[in-house]
C-alpha cells in the first residue's frame, strides 16, 4: 500500500489514540443545555425564540445572520429558560440560549429510522446546498467554517474533486475514526451528495495509516461507490490542515492567500459528510456530534454522541469524573485545542474532544535562550520562520511581520512542539497575526 504525505515541515507527536477501540456511546440528554449563537466562523446567528417558548428537537432557534453564518437548532425539547450571555471556553461570555429539557420530542419532519437511504439520483445540487444551509452544518473538524459557503462555488471556478478529511492528525482524538467505522455507509452517501453539490466526479477520502481498520473498511465499501477513492496517508502532523491534505492527496499547492477551490478542491471533514447525509436524506439538522473524552489518567475514556449545548461536565462524569491529577482541561486536541477553566461550558458544533491532561503533561518547560537551531524553520509546514516572526511580533513590527508572510501561519503549533528551548513562539505569532490581519482589514476599507 502506498502512503502519501505533504513535503514541507511537519512533526510527529505521540498519537495516544486511547479511545480508538471504544464504540460510540449515546450520552443521555442532560436537564439543561446552553447553546451559544457563535459556534461557527462568521457572524453570530440571530436568536428567533423568546424566553418561555416551547421548543422541539431540531427546531430552528437562531437564524444565520448573513452569508458567512449558520443556522442553529435546538438539540433538545423543552422551554427556553434564558437568553443571554453564557460562559465560553475562553472565560469571556457569548450570547446564547439556555433551554430546560422536558422529554424528548422531535420535529416530525426528521426521519429517525436506522435505514440507510441511497436514493440520491433525483436530488438537485441546489437542493443539497439549501438543505445544508438550513441544517446549519459547519466544518466539524474544529475550524467550524459554514459548509454551505464552501459548497457555493463561484461561477468562474470549478471543483475537480471533493476531499474528505478523515486524517484526524491531532493526538488523542478518535471521533472521526469511530465515525468511519460505525457510520461508513452514511459517510459514503454523504460524500456522494457533496460531489453532486459541487458538480464533480471524483472524491478522495484521506486517512492516516494509524487507522488501518478504517482504511480497509472504506476501501472495501468504495467499490460500490464510483468516483470515491480512499487515500492512505503517512502519519504526520498537521496533515489535517486543508492545504496540506490537498498537497498530500492531489499534489497541488494552494497559493498563499488563496482558497482550496483555486486549485479545484473542496475539503470537508468526515463528520461533516455524515452531517450532510443526515441533513439531506433524513432532514436532520446539526444537533448532535461525536466527542472523544479522553486523557492519560481518565478512568473510562470513550467516544460519545452528544447533543450540542450539553455542558461538558456531563461528559466528564460519563468517563468517571475528572482525574485527581488533572492539570489542564482542553477542548479539542493537544496541538490546537483551547484550554478551559470551567466544566460548565457547552459542547459546540466544533468540539471534537475533551482532553484532560495530567499535571505532568500540563506544563510548558522553562523558557531558555533561542539557540537558533532552526528546528522551528524545519518543522513549519508553511515554510515560515517562527523564530523571526515571534521576535518581530514581540517588538510590534507589524510591517516586517506582513513582509515575512505571517498571514500564512496556520497556528498548527509545530514550531513550539519542536522548540528545544521551550520558547512561546506561537503565542507571539498568533498575537502578531491578529494585529496584522486587523491592519490588512482596515486597509481594505
Amino acid at each position: 500500500m502506498e502512503f502519501k504525505t505533504f513535503n514541507i515541515g511537519g512533526v510527529h507527536p505521540a498519537d495516544k489514540k486511547i479511545t480508538a477501540g471504544s464504540p460510540i456511546q449515546v450520552l443521555p440528554v442532560p436537564d439543561t443545555v446552553t447553546i451559544p449563537c457563535a459556534m461557527h466562523i462568521g457572524a453570530p446567528a440571530e436568536i428567533i425564540v423568546n424566553k418561555g417558548d416551547k421548543v422541539k428537537v431540531g427546531q430552528l432557534i437562531a437564524k444565520a445572520n448573513g452569508f458567512v453564518s449558520a443556522n442553529i437548532h435546538s438539540s433538545v425539547s423543552g422551554t427556553v429558560k434564558q437568553i443571554g450571555p453564557l460562559p465560553d471556553a475562553s472565560g469571556y461570555t457569548k450570547m446564547g440560549v439556555t433551554i430546560a429539557v422536558e422529554g424528548d420530542e422531535w420535529e416530525e419532519s426528521i426521519d429517525r429510522s436506522e435505514t440507510i437511504r441511497h436514493d440520491i439520483d433525483d436530488i438537485k445540487p441546489e437542493e443539497i446546498i439549501a438543505k445544508v444551509a438550513d441544517a446549519g452544518i459547519v466544518g466539524m473538524g474544529g475550524a467550524t467554517f459554514p459548509t454551505k459557503v464552501k459548497l457555493s462555488i463561484p461561477l468562474e471556478k470549478k471543483a475537480e474533486a471533493v476531499l474528505i478529511n478523515a486524517v484526524e492528525c491531532e493526538p488523542y482524538l478518535t471521533a472521526d475514526h469511530r465515525l468511519m467505522l460505525e457510520k461508513a455507509e452514511q459517510l459514503m452517501v454523504g460524500t456522494q451528495l457533496l460531489m453532486k453539490a459541487v458538480k464533480c466526479e471524483n472524491a478522495y477520502i484521506g486517512i492516516e495509516q494509524n487507522k488501518m481498520d478504517a482504511i480497509e473498511k472504506l476501501t472495501a465499501l468504495s467499490a460500490n461507490y464510483p468516483g470515491i477513492t480512499v487515500v492512505p496517508l503517512k502519519l504526520k502532523y498537521p496533515q489535517g490542515s486543508e492545504k496540506h491534505l490537498i498537497k498530500a492527496i492531489m499534489g497541488r499547492e494552494v497559493p498563499s492567500g488563496r482558497l482550496p477551490i483555486d486549485v479545484g478542491a473542496v475539503v470537508d471533514n468526515a463528520g461533516t459528510a455524515v452531517a450532510v447525509y443526515e441533513a439531506v436524506m433524513k432532514n436532520k439538522p446539526l444537533i448532535e456530534r461525536i466527542v472523544t473524552v479522553t486523557g492519560d489518567s481518565v478512568k473510562n475514556p470513550g467516544n460519545f454522541l452528544v447533543r450540542i449545548g450539553t455542558p461538558i461536565k456531563h461528559l466528564i462524569e460519563a468517563v468517571g469524573g475528572m482525574p485527581e491529577d488533572t492539570g489542564k482541561l482542553i477542548s479539542g486536541g493537544p496541538m490546537m485545542g483551547k484550554s478551559c477553566t470551567s466544566v460548565e461550558i457547552p459542547v459546540a458544533k466544533g468540539t471534537s474532544g475533551i482532553l484532560m491532561l495530567p499535571e505532568k503533561l500540563a506544563h510548558r518547560g522553562e523558557v531558555e535562550n533561542c539557540i537558533r537551531c532552526g528546528k522551528c524553520v524545519d518543522a513549519c509546514p508553511m515554510g515560515l520562520e517562527p523564530y523571526l516572526l515571534s521576535k518581530l511580533a514581540k517588538l510590534n513590527k507589524f510591517e516586517d511581520l506582513e513582509a515575512n508572510h505571517i498571514t500564512d501561519c496556520i497556528s498548527c503549533g509545530c514550531c513550539m512542539f519542536t522548540c528545544p528551548a521551550n520558547r512561546p513562539l506561537l503565542d507571539y505569532m498568533n498575537y502578531g497575526k491578529g494585529k496584522v490581519m486587523a491592519i490588512i482589514r482596515s486597509r481594505k476599507k
Binding site: 471556553a89 475562553s90 477553566t341 510548558r364 503565542d427 498575537y431
Partner: protein
C-alpha cells in the same frame, strides 16, 4: 627602512585625505534642506517618542509644530516645554485640560481569587487573546505590565503585592501610551484635579452583580446606588457598570459613601470629619486608610473595603 615609514605614512595620509574629500562631497551633495527650527524644537522636547501628541515621535511633532503651531500640545513635556517651543516659533500655547492616567481595577490578589494558572508568553495582550484571565473576572487587570513596558516615564508600575498596575501621578504626563497598550481597556485619562484628588469607579466588570461579586469583592455590581446619590448627573450606569464622568464630577464623594462594595474609591482626600462615629466603624477605618495613603505610599490598598474582609486580606497576605 626610513623610506618604508615615509612611504606608508604618505599612502595612509593620502587615503585619509581622499576619504575626507569624498565624505565632504557626498555630505554636500545629498544634504536635505530643512527648516533649522525643527532641530531647535526637537531639542527642547522630552525625546520619549511616547506618541501622546498623536505623532509617531518627537521629531514628527516638531515638524508639525513648525508647519502649524496652532492646537499642538506636547502632553508629556507639559507647560514648561510648550513655553520654550512657543518662544522658538512664536505664537500661543493652546493647553488642554491637564489629565492623568487612572487604572480602574480594584481586583487585588486578595479580593479577586485565582481560578486558573496562566502559562505562556507573559504579556497582557496574549493572555487577553487566550482567555479572560487568571481570575473569574474577565475585565480586570492582568498584571503582566504591558502598560509598564510602553511607559516612557516610569510612571506606571505593576504592584507585585496587589497584582495591579499603579500610576505615579507625579510622573504621569497623560501621553496615553498605556491606555492604548491595555488590552482590557482599564486605563483612562481623567481630569487632573488639585492635589491629585480623584473619585472614580475602580472597576470595569460588566457581568451581572452576583457573577461580578463572586469573582471579586471589590467589583461594581451595577446596583445604581451611586447614580441616585449623585446630584450632578455625573454618574451613568450601563451594562451593570457605573461610570463617573470626570468633567462633571464635583468631588462631593456622596457616591463613595453609597457604594455597597469597594468599587467606588476616593483618593488623596484629607480624612473625613468623624460623623456618626458609633454607627459606622467601617468607614472610619477607611478614612484612616485613605489618609494613610497620602503619607505612606507603600500601603498597597487604597480601596474602600469592609472591615472583616480587610482582616481576611491581611491574614491571607501573611499566609502568602
Amino acid at each position: 627602512m626610513d623610506n618604508v615609514i615615509v612611504i606608508s605614512m604618505l599612502i595612509l595620509g593620502g587615503i585619509a585625505i581622499l576619504a575626507a574629500i569624498i565624505l565632504y562631497v557626498i555630505a554636500k551633495k545629498f544634504k536635505v534642506e530643512e527648516d533649522p527650527r525643527i532641530d531647535e524644537v526637537a531639542e527642547v522636547l522630552p525625546g520619549a517618542n511616547c506618541g501622546g501628541c498623536g505623532f509617531a515621535g518627537c521629531r514628527n511633532f516638531a515638524e508639525a509644530c513648525v508647519k502649524d503651531f496652532n492646537g499642538q500640545y506636547c502632553t508629556a513635556g507639559g507647560a514648561s516645554v510648550m513655553e520654550q517651543v512657543a518662544k522658538i516659533l512664536g505664537g500661543e500655547v493652546s493647553a488642554p485640560d491637564p489629565k492623568v492616567a487612572v487604572v480602574r481595577c480594584g481586583g487585588t490578589t486578595a479580593c479577586r481569587p485565582k481560578t486558573s494558572k496562566y502559562e505562556g508568553a507573559s504579556t497582557c495582550a496574549i493572555v487577553a487573546a487566550t482567555y479572560g484571565g487568571e481570575t473569574g473576572c474577565a475585565f480586570g487587570c492582568l498584571g503582566l505590565g504591558d502598560c509598564e513596558n510602553v511607559c516612557s516615564f516610569g510612571a506606571i508600575k505593576v504592584n507585585p503585592e496587589t497584582g495591579i498596575a499603579e500610576v505615579d501621578e507625579e510622573k504621569c504626563t497623560a501621553c496615553g501610551a498605556c491606555v492604548k497598550a491595555c488590552p482590557k481597556m482599564i486605563i483612562e485619562l481623567r481630569k487632573k484635579s488639585a492635589k491629585f484628588r480623584k473619585v472614580y469607579v475602580n472597576c470595569r466588570n460588566k457581568d451581572k452583580g452576583p457573577v461580578a461579586k463572586k469573582a471579586c469583592t471589590n467589583a461594581c455590581i451595577g446596583c445604581g446606588k451611586c447614580v441616585k446619590a449623585c446630584n450632578f448627573e455625573a454618574i451613568t450606569l450601563e451594562n451593570n457598570l457605573a461610570y463617573i464622568d470626570s468633567e462633571k464630577c464635583k468631588m462631593c464623594r456622596k457616591c463613595v459613601e453609597a457604594c455597597p462594595t469597594g468599587a467606588l474609591v476616593e483618593e488623596n482626600f484629607p480624612p473625613r470629619k468623624p460623623k456618626e462615629p458609633a454607627a459606622e466603624p467601617a468607614k472610619q477605618l477607611n478614612q484612616a486608610d485613605n489618609s494613610a495613603k497620602v503619607n505612606i505610599p507603600e500601603q498597597p490598598q487604597p480601596q474602600k473595603v469592609e472591615v472583616n474582609i480587610q482582616k481576611d486580606n491581611t491574614q491571607q497576605n501573611q499566609q502568602q
